[in-house]
Symmetry: C2
Subunit: 325 residues, 2 copies
């Protein structure tokens, strides 16, 4: 039995591409993108047929000092509007809200007054009850919602079953499988996909996938989980994202067969704006240090330190990870 | 029905890792590795549990001027012996012989007098008869043999059926699926794997996979085809190989569960010798230019030129490929 949905020649209308460059990429440069960068990326995404553009986090200004971060950590309504106006395009606008780091009761307008279309609620598996409270609040305000269960590679099957059952009975629209540590191989990513899909079957809810590239598998895992029925695909320009980064939008658009996607505008953007960013010293992407943390299924923070300190002693770093495994 | 062989926790004894760094990587530096590099890589591979190390090509000295290439384009018996002595290790020594570029009738000793264990015959699909002639010759001399059918993404199903039938009836030991253009996605790489395995079923012949990283899928395609029954896995240190390079040995050893494989010696080698190589300006690895040629299923030569000319006008290059598609 072939469990894949569609094939390499077909178009699936349920597929949506979400560009998370400003949000996950913002973790690489403290969210300090120029307005020009964000505006040009917005225009590029519209031209390239991207379905959703995530502008950043909606972080609590009482927990985080606004002077210490770029504005896309907070995604104020006026800042988004300064880029997109009333967003006359077909592309939808998303923001992320972290459980425990967001004043969700006060910081969101009703959807009818906001240019934001979708709120993505990010949580760890034990925070599902808190996430559900946020999801129902955002749903009542009129937003599309997702629940992004982070670090899924560390959740037990029992936890995941219960979480998915709770989400199935909620008003959430999309449930994301998030490979935060980049530790999944295509084989287990696809098993998890089927586990998610079976759990929410009949509810009409969609499943999404958010990859990290620690083992150079972000694109592969994205298209493999897609083939098993994932609908919402996160990607970032040149894979820009924390540590080893994410699935590249350009690889993904090269793969998808829907003629609405258009690679060319993205190439123009990359030539000009991504080069500028890298020339300024912003760093992300696959490296042995990230392979190790992916391999050991743990947070990349030590690998990020290794990178920031410009270390090249991979064997010593590997040994240090074995020490406190 | 699960068509995968084994699972993510198990060891399959049929799996063999072949390090092709000197051979495919040699295409990046004209085969001009120092003796120290090759000797240290040999020692590293032995310590890391690599099953086969490919030393290079056995190219015709009447077709290619020995002064214009490093010695690993020719792999003379005495040059290999200068590195490995009588090769007292368990690791086997391989060389590659290209159809039409090799004096195979005169340039190979009987196996009993050679330190080489395996000859890999590389051909395009229309050269199978010539490849078979070489294979039978090498078999008679006493060598293990493989047939590496290059550019498999451009062969028709009929051609492939006939080629595999001919190979099934030959004395070849391993038949390789070679994604020369890096154009396969995991889904079609796995379909091809099953096609190969079905074609040679009952013959005892093994199937191998040789990946290129044009779409950043070399590692993913390698472990996915592995999971569907491929036994022989080509990889190179840090993916060093023509254009976008190959599957990284370090990612592959990180994935394989057999305790005979050991990542640590490889990390020491990378720190010292691969850094040196890159500092000298040897270039390979994934980039948008290679994604394009992979995407269009064509030879990477234009992307290699783009790279060598240090061009960064990706959108123009993409347009030029559309022109002569």
């Amino acid at each position: 039995m072939n469990l894949r949905k569609g094939n390499l020649m077909s178009v699936r209308d349920d597929v949506k591409v979400l560009d998370a460059t400003i949000r996950d990429g913002g973790l690489c440069n403290n969210f300090e993108f120029s307005d020009e960068f964000v505006k040009e990326l917005y225009k590029t995404n519209v031209k390239s047929g991207i379905d959703y553009m995530e502008f950043g986090y909606k972080a609590s200004t009482s927990m985080f000092d606004e002077n210490e971060f770029g504005k896309w950590k907070f995604c104020k309504e006026e800042d988004i509007r300064a880029i997109v106006g009333d967003n006359p395009s077909d592309m939808k606008i998303a923001v992320m809200a972290d459980v425990g780091r967001c004043d969700y009761k006060t910081d969101f307008l009703p959807k009818s007054e906001s240019v934001i279309d979708m709120v993505r609620v990010a949580c760890y598996i034990h925070q599902i009850p808190a996430a559900l409270d946020m999801i129902e609040h955002f749903h009542t305000l009129g937003y599309e919602t997702t629940c992004n269960i982070m670090a899924v590679s560390q959740a037990t099957t029992d936890q995941l079953s219960q979480a998915l059952e709770m989400l199935k009975n909620s008003n959430v629209d999309v449930i994301y499988l998030v490979d935060s540590y980049g530790s999944l191989f295509p084989e287990n990513a696809c098993e998890l996909t089927q586990f998610y899909l079976n759990a929410v079957e009949g509810s009409g809810k969609k499943v999404g996938f958010h990859a990290h590239n620690n083992q150079n598998l972000a694109f592969a895992n994205t298209i493999e989980t897609l083939s098993y029925g994932v609908s919402y695909l996160d990607a970032t320009v040149e894979g820009m994202g924390r540590g080893a980064g994410n699935c590249s939008v350009e690889l993904l658009l090269g793969f998808l067969k829907n003629p609405k996607y258009n690679l060319y505008p993205l190439l123009k953007f990359i030539e000009k704006y991504m080069k500028e960013l890298k020339d300024k010293g912003v760093v992300w992407g696959y490296g042995l240090q990230y392979m190790f943390t992916g391999h050991f299924n743990r947070h990349p923070r030590e690998a990020i330190d290794f990178t920031n300190n410009k270390r090249e002693d991979f064997s010593e770093f590997y040994k240090s990870l074995l020490d406190n495994y």
